[in-house]
Amino acid sequence: MDGGRNLAMVRELLKHLLKKPATLKYPFEKRVPFKGFRGGPIWDMRRCTGCELCYKVCPSEAIEMIGKGLEAEFKHYLDRCLFCGQCEEVCPVNAITMTEEYELASYDRAEMIIEFKREEKASKNLSRSSKNV
């Protein structure tokens, strides 16, 4: 039963005694995603013209527009978003950019809705207004 002990496996095992583990000590060591990684999208409200293209094209209806044209504001539902980048692609004025943030989980669904307000009404339009920035 223990006849054909194969040495390839034994050598590999012993080699691993010296190797550094391949796993990361998350959350203390974090892995930086590559450039171009599709994380949570953010809206640049100064550029947005309220053309509704991103709202129409979103496959999972994760974008909600309030108001029309230049006063339009957005509510982005992170828990429905697919991170497909279709809104970033379709936006004629490049107002939407996909950040490299992937730690977007939260216990409370209300926190998963991110509002993007216009400049004069509220100060924090560029950055996210929810807790998990």
Partner: protein, 322 residues
């Protein structure tokens, strides 16, 4: 209270007794998990205590606080006794092993036979645990444990008797004494016996090549699928103590046990050798895939038993005697 009575109490409860053995059980589980992780290129337990040392203890406490469910159809009495037996038999067996010197807490002529009897009892407890928790998975697991016992029981007994014949005694303490006096460990004298003994202990501990009774990918967790909460905690502790028992049995029968009478030195040697034995188990565990039950039994009867008999013949011819 006569001081000598207190000494006996301390011996049983504290030093070479329960507390020490359970702490050793946790330590050996930690060694096993850390080494297996290292061999598999990952970290293993990290955050509880220094380098995850307290992880097994933390698991034990966590399980104690979990809800303890008994299946409605289960045989209540047997279902709750199985974990108790599972823990007490290995602990009792460990008292037969010399730890702090050349003689164990309990040592009488024929304690080797008593130890073999305890081994069989452990296997039967596993079967009862599987049988009494009336779920398909655990029944199949229990039956497989019984089959596996048929496989490894005979070669293990044959091989355990080897050192006894060479040392012309049936008491473990005297076998250890014999090895210390003649400064000859049985691992050199009876290498075949040592190899078979290690394989049989792997089967008894249900480690990887032989973890058939609890094959998680086939029958969930095999015989202890239905246990939870306190009962599961006791079973896992029982399995850890069983690991200590297997390691200390190898140390005393084949590696010369604590080969000095001074308590500190003896315990030091004992700890060193048992940990080495656990390292051996873990390396084997990382090396193999799981056998099927019919392959295991066929292998045991086709290879292990003839080799064990060959070892017996060699001893009779005087090779293993010195």
């Amino acid at each position: 209270m006569v001081p000598e009575g207190i000494m006996a109490l301390i011996q049983i409860l504290l030093f070479p007794g329960f507390l020490f053995l359970i702490a050793l059980a946790f330590f050996h589980e930690w060694v096993d998990r850390k080494l297996l992780a290292k061999l598999q290129n990952r970290y293993g337990p990290l955050y509880t205590g220094p380098a995850g040392l307290l992880q097994p203890f933390a698991d034990f406490i966590k399980l104690l606080s979990k809800e303890d469910i008994t299946p409605k159809a289960a045989d209540k009495f047997m279902f709750s006794c199985a974990p108790l037996f599972m823990l007490s038999f290995p602990l009792l067996a460990l008292f037969l092993i010399p730890v702090t010197g050349l003689t164990a807490s309990i040592s009488f002529e024929g304690d080797l036979i008593f130890l073999m009897f305890l081994f069989t009892l452990i296997a039967i407890t596993i079967f009862i645990a599987g049988w009494s928790s009336v779920s398909r998975f655990s029944t199949v697991g229990g039956v497989r444990a019984a089959f596996q016992m048929l496989g490894y029981e005979i070669p293990m007994t044959l091989v355990m008797v080897g050192p006894a014949i060479a040392a012309r005694t049936l008491s473990i303490s005297q076998i250890v004494g014999w090895q210390t006096h003649n400064a000859a460990w049985f691992i050199w004298l009876q290498p075949i016996g040592f190899a078979i003994f290690v394989l049989c202990l792997l089967a008894e501990l249900e480690f990887i090549p032989f973890d058939i009774p609890e094959a998680e990918t086939e029958i969930v967790a095999g015989w202890f699928t239905e246990f939870s909460g306190r009962k599961l905690a006791l079973i896992r502790l029982g399995k850890d103590v069983e690991l200590v028992l297997a390691a200390s049995l190898i140390t005393s029968l084949f590696l010369g046990g604590p080969n000095s009478s001074l308590p500190i030195l003896a315990t030091g040697f004992f700890l060193l050798k048992t940990t080495l034995a656990v390292v051996l188990f873990t390396t084997l565990r990382a090396l193999f895939a799981r056998f099927r039950i019919d392959q295991m039994i066929a292998g045991a009867w086709k290879y292990l038993i003839p080799l064990a008999i060959l070892q017996m013949v060699l001893i009779q011819l005087g090779f293993g005697r010195w």
